[in-house]
Assembly symmetry: C4
Homo-oligomer: 370 residues x 4
């Protein structure tokens, strides 16, 4: 059940797992992912205040049960960015999934494709763009760009992503320096496995480095001009990821962004910032439907998905739990987890009297706020 790579014990399980709920996967995964890898995946920055706030923020809005709505069999399908998706739940561009499983992003892609859900690849993937795309077998994928200081690198990965047929570029702008992640410091964590997209430029790149070194090679100065440049070069929709204020959403849209991705990087960057969900509705109001809004950071329950959509999101990304599922069961595990969250979400939709995603987006949330 384990492959040893550079001394790191990688799961290679391929089996169904019994998913009680997404939250419960963390404790199970902790038992099989090596300490350093688990710390990297699970940790936030500093004392994890914002990480915790990401969960807490959801408790301050509630979903009103609605009866007499005369509906059954909620329809989770979402059409966003011109893509026909079977669920608004998507996979965010989570790096280095080889830490959890030998097949890494390939298994994740396979699972999301099987469920008709959108997958985003990370620049810092363990698996290459082409391999991950192939595992997705034609299902829609996005490619996320950590912009390098070296523009040639950016062109090369965009070229490869286009060749692989990705439907959009997610440009991450909230990681111009590494958040101070204490778990990594305590564990002296360095990536044991190369990052495939970097390795093309320099053999073994990523391996033996910590996140600080990785981010140091990326661009630190990022401006609206970069959004425009990436959009022009790629001729693909560019979604700007890491937005937490209406002002930045405005800047991004002004520079030609085709989507706004509200995220605080799962509490891994600016600790002491708000819970991501707390920032969503003001941003969505500012965006006002001009482009789609993706949301992540802290989503664990079907009711969280509902709340995020009702607060203005069009797609809702969930990261860590799927990587835990990946470790526990490979592609089958990820599919199980995705089915579970879809089941929870469908239950909430039915009990809230909402037949479609459009209905969810019109639902009024309660705010008994204590």
């Amino acid at each position: 059940m384990m492959t040893i790579v550079n001394g790191y014990e990688q799961s290679d399980r391929e089996e169904h797992i019994n998913v009680l709920n997404l939250e419960s996967l963390e404790a199970r995964a902790e038992k099989i992912i090596p300490k350093g890898g688990f710390g990297y995946i699970s940790g936030g920055s500093e004392d994890n205040w914002t990480l915790a706030q990401n969960r807490k923020a959801f408790t301050h809005k509630q979903v009103y049960p609605r009866a007499l709505a005369n509906i059954d069999q909620p329809d989770l399908s979402a059409n966003v960015f011109g893509l026909d998706l079977k669920t608004p739940v998507m996979m965010p561009p989570l790096a280095a999934q080889g830490l959890a499983h030998a097949k890494g992003e390939m298994d994740t892609a396979k699972a999301f494709a099987a469920e008709g859900a959108l997958m985003a690849q990370s620049t810092y993937s363990s698996a290459s763009i082409a391999d991950t795309a192939a595992a997705g077998n034609g299902a829609p994928q996005f490619f996320q760009l950590y912009m390098s200081k070296d523009w040639k690198f950016n062109e090369a990965v965009i070229d490869e992503a286009k060749k692989a047929g990705v439907k959009g570029i997610i440009l991450t702008v909230d990681a111009t320096v590494d958040g101070y992640r204490e778990a990594d410091i305590i564990n002296h964590f360095q990536f044991p496995i190369p990052m495939a997209n970097l390795e093309k430029f320099s053999q073994g790149a990523g391996k033996g480095q910590g996140i600080a070194e990785i981010y140091a090679a990326a661009a630190q100065k990022i401006s609206a001009d970069d959004v425009r440049r990436i959009a022009e070069y790629s001729d693909l929709p560019v979604i700007v990821k890491g937005i937490q204020t209406p002002e930045d959403a405005e800047l991004a849209i002004g520079a030609g962004a085709s989507g706004i991705y509200v995220s605080n990087h799962g509490g891994r960057q600016l600790n002491g910032g708000p819970g991501s969900f707390d920032t969503l509705s003001a941003i969505a109001q500012a965006v006002n439907g001009r482009v789609p809004v993706i949301f992540d950071s802290g989503v664990r329950r079907g009711s969280d998905v509902f709340k995020a959509l009702a607060a203005g999101a069009d797609l809702v990304a969930i990261g860590r739990p799927f990587v835990y599922a990946l470790a526990l069961g490979g592609a089958l595990g990820v599919q199980d987890a995705l089915q579970e969250i879809n089941h929870e979400f469908a239950t909430i939709m039915q009990l809230a009297g909402t037949k479609t995603i459009a209905d969810v987006k019109k639902a009024k949330l309660a705010d008994f706020n204590y």
Copy 2:
């Protein structure tokens, strides 16, 4: 003290129990109700957030002590739906009481009748409508309907309820799909005992099924038209149960509802919804006296009864604690528990300077809200 039914150990105690308070009965009952049954009764959905919020909501309003009111001997009697009741505390339509006691709903009915209090039967009762009515010995009862997809079933149970002399129909509309109840999943819970009202249609029905299967047989699409149809067929007052918004109260009244039952199903359905008490006053204001309001979900103390009435309820239902009392002492246990909550409520009435339920309903609550 135990009867074994289909391998399930059912209490058959008939004795007085010492009720310190209603909350304290849960831990005592947990020792004698089998794990699966206890999990089914005590659990909410998902991580029990809304279940906990149901209790917490009460702490955000407070009862003002009133002195110099020149009263003694508070009068708890309530006249609602044309019924003369000795207390506004009623038994909600809690299913499958055979899980707690061999006599199930029959003992509960006996106890509520003895105390002059209103009892509601559930469609999914362990005991039949007729037997439960007979145990009530002429005391007023309501019958709750989980509407079946099979209209013939609905007609048959309504016919039987009318024959048994029930005074009203409670139509539950918040359970068009099963809330995701993790305790049942963990315990692989299936009802060990048939449900008498279902069994008439299909021998042994209910037995060996989980709540998901039970609810799947029920109607999932419920609309205002169903309220009207049930009212017309039954020619009885129809009270719509599971209302958490003014909008749904309006729909129900517009369709001829004779009562609004504010409830979130004891936190067993939409987890991530507000505490039920938090939703009460807005609904009661919308109803504005046109029909009576019943409230449940989270009531455990005399002061909670007071708060619910002051926030707009006319009757206040309490579920789980009476089922625990049933397990601990049968009808005598239920009576003890009902006397205890009535005693607490009478004490609060006196200390709040309220002589009658009408006075309670006019009392202003404090909201030192932190």
Copy 3:
């Protein structure tokens, strides 16, 4: 160090105790006061929610440190009800102090007299009015009346109180029925020692009874007329105790009350009511200086005394801690505790830049309220 009375071990210590702070006395006293007595003294009603809220309420207002006030040696002296007191801290009419100490109220009276502080006797004192007054040695005392259904009793105790020279009558109006005190129920608590003022009417009265029986003999119907009647009969200032709303303060003043005593009986009566401090400022604003305001319930720190005065009180009563001090050291213990709270209060006065009680009453509190 112990006297055995009717099987109850009464402390008879007379020694200095080392008072770190008033809160710390409870755990120490619990070791020497018998369980039943300790439960009676320390407990609130029901689940002690209001008891806890009495403390929590103070944390939602804060005292602003003030510098550059050019003061030293704060002056704690208070002139209220025409009495010259060395501190605004007073002893409330706490019943049955014989539970804590053989000398009961006599030692308390001695200690408060020695410190120039006001003492209030309770109708349900272990020691008689005359004995307690004598122990006070001419220092001012109030007498608190639990009005009996038997008007002759009321006249008799008022006569005795007047004879003993008390300066005012505190009429308690928030105890027309006993709060549901679970500690007493659990401990099957009955007073082991007679109540001296009752015993004059019926030998051994109070002994062998619980609080429910004691209160049952008292008047349950109390109105503004009773305030007037007591004032007329006694020709003494009547202070109405147990006020938690502006409305009741208005009623009492309208009926001739000479003082308003804001209290929720230390959380022993209406559980589910607000923290007493939360109700103070609205009442004080309604009273608007027409009569003095006494405050109690939850005061433990010098900063609480400051906050209560700044929120509108003129005198601040503290109960349980002094009874614990009584158990631990008799009159000397009570004096030590009173000196400690005075020292804390004087420190807060200095650091808040307030030289006199009048300055404290003008201080603006902060309300960083979370």
Copy 4:
């Protein structure tokens, strides 16, 4: 690793320490600083409510992550009071650092000088003004004055401070009596080491005294006139320390203060007062740029430094953690701690899109306040 002075075990370590974060130093230092000294340094007054509130207050404002700001390499340099500083983090005038280390303030001064950061000496330093200034080797220092009742003392220390070249006088006004510090009471704490600046006037002064005695020798009446007198005598900028209200800031500026130092003495004086950060923005708005504002009390993280500057501070002082670092590693330890907080702060600056301290001061904080 230890020097024994008057029976007190003083650390004399001079080594690099591994600083995970500033908060983590307390537990490590507790193992090497004697109990009495540790209690004095770490403790607040009474039950430490305000001490805890100092930390909690920061959680109620949050830093918005800002992307697309086109910046890198944040510049922490601050020019305040005409001083060129490499960081806005400064050392407050923390007394008796000999409790932590044999070199006390001299090592602290050395470390702050090495990092280009401002150090403030305390009147109650273990090391003399001249020795501490010499250790700073020409780097800017402030001298803090606890005003003595003996004006000659004040003149003498000011003379010595001027001779040592200090750039300003911090006049502490919030300690006109000792806060009630229970840890010191419990530990019977007396300073084991003389205070160098007092000792010049009276041999061994400070040694064998508790904080109450020390403060008793200081002036208790302090007014705006004293600010003026100190300013005139010293001809140096006078910064008034211990301000928690706009009113006191106004008084100080009116009397010629050159700076306002917002502090509640680290929760060591008026317990029951607000968290210091809660008071900052109102004061800064009142000051409105007329003079610089220094802030302390509760700062532990780079994000706290950011929040304090954004709320109106110009310099941010951190006390206890540097003294723990001093115990753990002498000057090298203090430098390590200072580098760590600067690193955290620089990270937050970058992630918040702020290139300079001026940018930080213009940043809008979020207030998702629960």
